[in-house]
């Protein structure tokens, strides 16, 4: 395999995982979709089910209009459209996790419209602080686990959980390494590879994903770093599948150096330290959290400032999905905190899968011009 193969692979899987799902189905392996990164994938994987991340890619919304009003975020509207269109009809089940109000309602609406589908939900707490939420999260994870066992018909084995945790921890290490190498080789590793590699990891059996990543990353061993004074931009937001932002940053001589996205660093930060249900639960409680969750009133601010400092970030782009309430609530205070550290910011609101107008280009270009 050479680098071009990797680039081709992650591009095709991250843009459309359906072919990947179908190939697993041809091998008669069960595949579950999951809508949120709070679904404890390790447990699903350990039951022999391949979890595949669901990200709405529908270009136009028609059928979903009958279920979601126009002021619903495009991630959910697009996904509903795809479910109705049968894009993911080969899935064996669908897993939800509690995060925001919209996702919560999505679960109910999905279940109502697909009464025969195997649908489970992990009712993850909104509070992440202390032992009371942990005790609940653990009890709920066990309840969730039992409900998924209805599908396999057998309990989770501790050996397979150990193996799964190892594969997942390794994937997280590899993605972390990719982010690190990207800073040294911004040309050979274009910014969009961060996004595509994370989405690929969310959609492919972890062992296979790890193989691809390992081979690609090893091609950079002993290579002298590129000489680069590219300005470093960090993205902050919920989910994103738009590659254009990454490409534009590169095109204008800057780079997307890091992010706080569900389809980015938030997915692979924090390892599982102990290969048990308890250990997995701890990981999901302690990872850098989504705006819909609460650790304390400054936890997201602290995390972002730390990352900005560590990565020497020159500018931050809040890349929000329109109608994403949890992030919109955070925006003014986060912006104030970040700009207080003399790091400029810019807000870009987008809709999933909707072709961007020239405005995105203008904003990105002006932002790079401004921080240069």
């Amino acid at each position: 395999m050479d680098r071009a193969d990797y680039i081709k692979f992650v591009e095709s899987v991250s843009r459309n995982p359906v072919e990947q799902i179908n190939s697993y189905k041809r091998q008669e392996r069960p595949v579950f979709g999951y809508t949120c990164s709070y679904v404890p994938e390790e447990l699903i994987d350990a039951m022999g089910i391949i979890p595949v991340r669901m990200l709405g890619r529908a270009q136009t919304i028609q059928s979903a209009e009958r279920h979601f009003q126009s002021y619903c975020c495009s991630q959910v509207r697009s996904l509903m459209e795809e479910f109705i269109d049968g894009v993911y009809s080969s899935l064996d089940g669908l897993l939800f996790a509690h995060t925001c109000d919209t996702m919560q309602q999505f679960h109910d609406i999905y279940k109502k419209n697909f009464p025969k589908a195997f649908v489970k939900n992990i009712n993850f707490p909104s509070r992440l602080d202390g032992e009371i939420p942990y005790n609940y999260a653990l009890a709920e994870t066990k309840r969730f686990l039992k409900s998924v066992e209805e599908f396999t018909g057998r309990p989770l084995s501790s050996d397979s959980l150990k193996e799964s945790v190892t594969a997942y921890n390794k994937n997280r290490t590899l993605l972390e390494k990719l982010y690190g190498l990207h800073l040294k080789y911004p040309v050979d590793i274009p910014s969009r590879l961060l996004l595509q590699s994370v989405i690929m990891s969310q959609c492919v059996d972890k062992r296979e994903a790890n193989k691809w990543l390992e081979q690609f990353l090893s091609s950079f061993d002993e290579k002298a770093p590129e000489d680069s004074k590219r300005k470093r931009i960090m993205l902050v937001g919920s989910v994103n599948i738009n590659e254009e932002v990454y490409d534009l940053a590169d095109e204008f001589g800057a780079m997307i150096a890091d992010d706080d996205l569900c389809t980015g660093r938030r997915y692979f930060s924090t390892q599982v330290s102990e290969p048990t249900v308890e250990g997995v639960t701890r990981r999901y409680l302690s990872r850098p959290h989504c705006a819909a969750k609460h650790r304390d009133v400054h936890s997201r601010e602290r995390w972002l400032l730390e990352l900005i400092e560590k990565r020497s970030i020159d500018g931050v782009i809040f890349l929000y999905l329109k109608f994403c309430d949890p992030h919109c609530f955070d925006y003014p205070d986060l912006r104030k905190a970040i700009e207080g550290k003399k790091v400029p910011t810019q807000l870009i609101e987008m809709e999933q899968s909707v072709a961007q107008s020239g405005q995105l280009r203008t904003k990105l270009q002006a932002f790079v011009e401004m921080i240069s």
Binding site: R66, H67, F68, Q69, Y71, C72, H98, T99, C100, D101, T102, Q104, Q105, F106, H107, D108, I109, K112, N113, N121, N123, P125, S126, R127, I132, P133, N135, Y136, A139, E140, R143, A291, A292, H294, V297, H298, K322, F323, D325, P326, C328, F329, D330, Y331, P332, D333, R335, L347
Partner: protein, 422 residues
């Protein structure tokens, strides 16, 4: 059928006004009585606070007042200037705007101060914030913002949504949090918790809730003696002051007065022709206009899912904390969509409704997403038609009078048609 005049028939309206003015007055002067103030979400566990002598303040009730006084756009603008998106909950935007501008419909100017405003307008500053997410996840973010703004402790009671109904995991979690919450309140306010006092308040709260339920049930009568536009007003004490004797007394009087109207078959409209059920929050800034529009067609809102959300409570003496956990964990908006469908069908049948109006409320995503499916399903199960109105509870800037009027007219025409062919 007779039509009544609100002012002459419902003498408890004056009592309601005094109750609410007194409440905000006391809150404003809490510094004199050294009472601590806690801001709390509308579905939040208020009984421990009241039992510990802490004054609860409800920013959501304040939001409703802002909406009704048509101050929404001005206060929203102030929040939007800070960078809060116009797509966020308008109660939140109004609350932030009011805190920043110190402007509010509550503008108390006592005579003994020569008519000067007490500390400017707006809610009294909180000593403590209590957030219970059994109504939405939005309040969690809202209270985080306010905790940073006022730099005061934030207590969160996380009540997981009842996806699969009420689970033991949820009840144990919420029960544990109530224990924790009481310790936190004691720490933040220096007040001691007494279980005896708590049970006393819990019983008063139960009594008020039961009375409220009875008040709403009077509209099962044909004709109904009040419409939801009245109920939206009568709701304020059950939200803000449940757990006190004065609320119990108020609802007792209201109930007697409404029952008497019902017995005499007196209606708030000249002729009750269509009985409708309302879903979601009121459109506060269009209450009068919508009420008039509907009254002109002889349409009466006889029940709604919103005011009924406070009509369910059961704090038991044996296990006070656990029963309170159950009450708050299973609040109406925390129940899944299937349960909401059943509830609406039940309301339609109980109140002999001819159809229902669904307010698709841009400000309230958890209440509104699912309505399209609820509308179809409730129509299917009851055989009654529905109309969806897209609006907002406080923000008139995405609302078109003409558009809504046309829709309501068309809907009434369908109802007429049905009656004629029935």
């Amino acid at each position: 059928m007779e039509q009544y005049n609100q002012l002459s028939e419902i003498s408890s309206n004056e009592r309601l006004r005094k109750l609410m003015v007194g409440y905000y007055m006391k809150a404003k002067f809490s510094w004199l009585t050294r009472k601590k103030i806690a801001w709390i979400t509308s579905g939040g566990p208020v009984e421990p606070l009241i039992s510990m002598g802490i004054t609860p303040i409800y920013p959501e009730n304040h939001g409703a007042m802002i909406g009704a006084r048509k101050m929404g756009p001005e206060l929203s603008d102030a929040a939007e200037d800070l960078g809060y998106s116009r797509d966020l909950c308008s109660y939140f935007r109004c609350d932030v705007g009011s805190a920043v501008l110190k402007k509010s419909p509550i503008d108390i100017r006592p005579k003994f101060l020569g008519g000067r405003a007490v500390f400017g307008g707006g809610l009294p500053k909180p000593d403590l914030l209590v957030c219970c997410n059994n109504i939405c996840g939005t309040v969690l973010k809202w209270y985080e913002v306010q905790a940073r703004f006022f730099n005061v402790p934030l207590i969160i009671v996380d009540t997981p949504y009842n996806y699969d109904g009420e689970t033991t995991e949820i009840i144990e979690y919420v029960t544990a949090q109530f224990g924790e919450m009481i310790t936190q309140i004691e720490k933040a306010t220096g007040k001691r918790f007494s279980e005896k006092e708590f049970i006393r308040v819990g019983e008063l709260s139960d009594e008020a809730v039961n009375l409220w339920n009875e008040v709403l049930s009077i509209c099962e009568n044909v004709p109904a003696p009040m419409t939801c536009f009245d109920a939206f007003m009568y709701l304020a004490p059950i939200v803000t002051l449940r757990g006190t004797q004065e609320v119990v007394d108020y609802y007792k009087q209201l109930k007697v007065e409404l029952q008497s109207l019902a017995d005499r078959k007196i209606s708030p409209v000249p002729e009750e022709k269509f009985r409708l059920v309302w879903d979601n929050l009121p459109i506060w800034f269009k209450m009068r206009r919508l009420s008039k529009t509907l009254a002109n067609y002889g349409a009466v809102l006889v029940a709604d899912t919103y005011t009924n959300a406070w009509a369910d409570n059961d704090i038991s003496v044996e296990k006070p904390i656990e029963s309170m956990a159950r009450v708050y964990a299973t609040a109406y908006l925390n129940r899944n969509t299937e349960t909401k469908i059943k509830n609406m069908v039940n309301l339609m049948n109980r109140f002999k409704a001819d159809g229902f109006l669904i307010h698709s409320n841009r400000s309230c995503k958890p209440y509104s997403f699912g309505q399209l499916d609820i509308k179809d399903e409730v129509s299917r199960r009851t055989g009654k038609p529905a109309l969806m109105i897209e609006a907002d509870m406080c923000d008139p800037r995405a609302y078109s009078d003409e558009q809504i009027a046309t829709r309501i007219q068309a809907f009434i025409e369908t109802l007429k048609e049905r009656k004629a062919t029935a």
